[in-house]
């Protein structure tokens, strides 16, 4: 129990539209899962619901982090307990400096004020891994960043915060091949017995660089098929049509 992230029969809606219709998933630390699905299948709803975005309402089921339900927890408490979401569209926050923000976030995560020196040493090391220029830390959070820079910044935050379970929402979208390699390299370095990862993606491409242990297919708010890496290849070759037809039948 202490090393699992478990979604049980989750149902969620946006405004009044039901999107997730009974989703089940269990991830153990050390595992990488991928959820693939066509547009509108509920991928982003899942990502946002896990972190408690106020726009999404859970109407049934449960989400358990290390055996404890998180549904009554505020977003920030979920984060402090070790959940992380790499956003599909990280928002720009002009006026908030990267370094100040990250230090606050890291302090919140560990529950104590992190010393400046200690913080910057760690930050510099992580940035080097992601081939990020040190000028970035003086910039405002995501302001004027290119799509690729924003995604890299998400991975930087993930490295700094050291979550126990991370959800990566369409991290590959908007990345050119070089940026994708850098980002994947970063994620692969984080892989290990202390972290469970859920990759949410439309395309198989990122899974060539970050190889998942399990692949799930999400259609109409439910996981309809799970399998190994071959499933992704099959989707890449045949698209989603066959599975939606199979589900409809």
């Amino acid at each position: 129990m202490s090393d699992t992230f478990e979604i049980r029969n989750l149902q969620a809606k946006v405004e009044d539209k039901p999107i997730l219709k009974g989703l089940n998933l269990t991830i153990r630390k050390g595992e990488v899962h991928a959820i693939m699905g066509p547009n509108g299948s509920g991928k982003s709803t899942l990502a946002n619901t896990i972190l408690g975005h106020p726009k999404y309402t859970v109407t049934g089921g449960d989400i358990l982090l290390k055996g404890e339900s998180i549904l009554d927890m505020e977003t920030d408490e979920r984060a402090r307990r070790g959940l992380f979401l790499a956003f599909q569209y990280p928002c720009e926050v002009p006026g908030v400096r990267m370094s100040n923000f990250l230090r606050m976030a890291c302090s919140a995560r560990v529950g104590r004020e992190i010393e400046v020196m200690e913080f910057f040493e760690k930050l510099e090391a992580k940035m080097k891994r992601l081939e990020m220029d040190e000028k970035w830390v003086k910039r405002y959070l995501n302001e004027g960043f290119s799509g690729g820079e924003k995604k890299r910044n998400e991975i930087l935050q993930m490295m700094m915060l050291e979550p126990e379970f991370a959800v990566m929402d369409e991290t590959d979208s908007g990345l050119d091949i070089d940026a994708l390699k850098i980002v994947s390299h970063g994620v692969n370095e984080l892989r290990g017995p202390n972290l469970g990862i859920l990759i949410i993606t439309h395309y198989e491409r990122i899974l060539r660089y970050i190889q998942p242990d399990v692949i799930h297919i999400l259609v109409d708010g439910r996981i309809v098929k799970s399998g190994d890496a071959d499933l992704a290849k099959h989707l890449e070759e045949h698209g989603y049509d066959w599975i939606t037809k199979e589900v409809a039948a």
Binding site: L51, H53, P54, K55, E74, T75, D76, A79, R80, F84, L85, F87, P90, C91, V93, P94, G95, V96, N100, F101, M104, A105, A108, R109, Y140, Q157, L161
Partner: protein
């Protein structure tokens, strides 16, 4: 007492809500009876290293030096009742006079510690920078007078540069009427940052008169309103000459039942081609009960110029809050970070670190709670 101004004060009617500039304000708490008998002498505290030749002191003690400019900007022609009141009753204040080509490198600071409940105070400030001079002036108004009506006349002559930070943090009972007007000559620059923090009602009229080619003015301001505070900002970018630039940004953070009215006039006179005038007013509203109005007025009589204006009234952005909280920041921390971020462009204009920190402290105390 200046009798002519006093007569004008008595002739001008007390503004009412029918007056478009006053429609949002409640003046019922303002007591003007026997105002001339309630006026208290103004004392100023001065600090900073004053180079030889520079005059920085009490206005009453430097009448001769002041003579050439005093009353040249604030005149009997003023249209507002409270400016006339100030002009009628002021007796002292501060003067900064910097002779030609003298650069005052350290900031000079004047604090008006104004008297208490029931009393009234009418400080005047005169700032003259002769051609090529440079200075940084910090002006602070504190205390709890019932009525405060002040006037500041600024003359920045050819090629001179003034960095000027002014703030008030009156008690929540004070009615504050303030006029600040800067005259900017050829190739001169004035760089203002204004902080409006206290008072029951604070009405500021802030004006730049661009009189010479190549002149530049930066007018930046922050206003904070809490409880039932009333905030009025009436700015005027007056381009009398072409090839001049004025850049203005006023930002307000309002909570509880605060009332705010920003009115920004850009006036470009005939034959003032090559004018650049930018005006922006941004309001961050933290409660449903806030009343916030913003109004640009353009009076433009030249053709070839660049002029932009924009205004927004908004709340904290839900997606930004979610993003910050998804990294573990509490709601309070996230709100604080976003409010600070909103005001950052104003604070960044303040070149004196201690003053910037003081602004920051006041912002924390008033709106980040």
């Amino acid at each position: 007492m200046n009798q002519t101004a006093w007569q004008r004060y008595q002739q001008l009617p007390l503004p009412t809500r029918r007056d478009v500039d006053w429609q949002h304000f409640d003046l019922r708490g303002l007591k003007l009876d026997n105002i001339e008998k309630r006026a208290q002498p103004v004392t100023v505290k001065l600090s900073g290293k004053v180079p030889t030749g520079v005059i920085f002191g009490e206005l009453a003690k430097h009448r001769d030096a002041a003579k050439s400019h005093l009353g040249k900007s604030i005149t009997i022609e003023e249209r507002h009742k409270f400016t006339a009141l100030h002009d009628a009753l002021w007796d002292n204040g501060a003067i900064l006079y910097v002779p030609r080509d003298v650069r005052v490198t350290e900031p000079l600071e004047v604090t008006y510690d104004l008297p208490n409940h029931g009393s009234a105070s009418f400080p005047r400030t005169l700032v003259v920078l002769e051609p090529g001079a440079e200075a940084t002036l910090v002006q602070k108004f504190t205390g709890s007078p019932a009525v405060h009506a002040s006037g500041t006349e600024v003359f920045v002559q050819r090629g001179a540069r003034l960095h000027y930070v002014s703030m008030q943090n009156f008690a929540p009972t004070t009615y504050d009427f303030t006029l600040k007007r800067a005259h900017v000559a050829q190739d001169a620059e004035v760089d203002w940052v204004i902080g409006m923090f206290g008072g029951a009602l604070a009405r500021y009229d802030i004006e730049c008169v661009m009189e010479g080619r190549g002149g530049t003015s930066f007018m930046y301001g922050v206003g904070l309103g809490e409880n039932k505070q009333q905030l009025g900002q009436f700015t005027r970018q007056h381009h009398q000459t072409g090839d001049t630039t004025s850049d203005l940004l006023f930002k307000n953070v309002l909570r509880d039942q605060a009332v705010s009215n920003y009115t920004g006039t850009i006036k470009v006179e005939k034959d003032s081609n090559g004018t650049n005038a930018y005006q922006s007013n941004r309001n961050l509203v933290l409660s449903d009960k806030v009343q916030c109005d913003t109004r640009p007025i353009l009076e433009i009589e030249s053709n070839q110029l660049r002029c932009t204006h924009g205004a927004t009234v908004g709340r904290l952005d839900d997606n930004q809050l979610f993003y910050l909280r998804s990294r573990g920041l509490s709601l309070t921390q996230a709100r604080q970070a976003l409010i600070e971020a909103f005001l950052e462009p104003i604070l960044a204009r303040i070149q004196i670190e201690s003053v910037r920190e003081e602004f920051s402290r006041l912002i924390h105390a008033k709106v980040i709670r």
